[in-house]
Amino acid sequence: MTTAEKYVTAAYCVVFALVLLYVVIIALKLQRLEREVDELAERRETEAEDEREPVEVG
């Protein structure tokens, strides 16, 4: 591999690495958002159960 080839490869690898890093960061953020949505949904379910009034039977 010549010096020019090494530098060109490095330049393209830098582009690839930075875009990949960005995608990983966005993916981690979306994971966090998904977790928060789950938490909210769980909280809503718990609150709905607590709010349910007891019904007399018979």
Partner: protein, 235 residues
């Protein structure tokens, strides 16, 4: 803000999976053209191949900053809160692509000129000034509380920055002494044949890549905002 309102633009109606597929196809095609189709430059040889992504990324960064400024103007004009978020994401994309321009440019400069950076080059220094100006945008944005005041200040700042783009672009053409190559003159591009075809494919690939990343980030930011509103409503 209803979700339907976000998808009012023609471009915004393209589904994200389709955009991601188009990006992958275009970037792969561009790389194939760069390494297997484009001929070696008579002057610079193999190292000239950095040009295809370096210049494409530079124009994409300019486009992102202009897009961010356009959304900022739209915010100031129409007072549309979603335009503030779109402006922020546009500027963010511009900074990401701007850092790529500086990195690939430095590598190319090292092969061609023997230096990583030359302070005597107006084009380089002005691009760095533009990049740092937009980096400071985030310092401003995160130093203020969320609300109309922050949106107003950020919109004005993003609009001011756009003035630097023509200065940065024209600096090389106005300079008396330079070593940075001029690829676009008033008579059109300074190259033709397979070099021009490869450049056009690379440019299209970078534009589509930037737009896909913009859409992904914007979707995340909108979800984040809605979640925050929901949490506030529950509290």
């Amino acid at each position: 803000m209803s979700p339907a309102r976000h998808n009012s633009g023609l471009m915004a109606r393209i589904p994200l999976p389709a955009l991601a597929t188009a990006t992958l196809a275009l970037v792969t095609t561009a790389l194939c053209f760069v390494f297997f189709v484009a001929p070696n430059d008579a002057d610079q040889g193999f190292s000239q191949r950095i040009f295809y992504f370096h210049v494409s990324i530079a124009f994409t960064a300019y486009a992102c900053f202009i897009g961010g400024a356009w959304k900022a103007l739209r915010y100031l004009w129409k007072r549309d809160p979603s335009a503030d978020l779109e402006s922020y994401v546009g500027v963010h994309q511009g900074v990401i692509f701007g850092s790529l321009v500086l990195l690939t440019g430095s590598i190319w400069a090292k092969i061609s000129w023997g230096h990583w950076w030359l302070w005597s080059e107006n084009q380089l220094v002005l691009f760095l000034v533009l990049f740092l100006f937009y980096c400071a945008y985030f310092m401003l944005r995160y130093s203020l509380d969320d609300g109309p005041q922050r949106a107003n200040l950020c919109a004005v700042y993003a609009l001011f920055g756009v003035v630097l783009i023509p200065v940065s672009f024209l600096a090389i053409r106005l300079a008396q002494r330079f070593i940075h190559p001029v690829v676009f003159t008033s008579h059109g591009p300074n190259f033709h044949g397979w070099i021009l075809v490869t450049y056009c494919i690379s440019q299209a690939a970078m534009f589509v890549l930037a737009y896909t990343l913009y859409r992904v980030e914007l979707a995340g930011k909108r979800l984040d905002r809605r979640l925050r509103d929901l949490r506030r409503a529950y509290a």
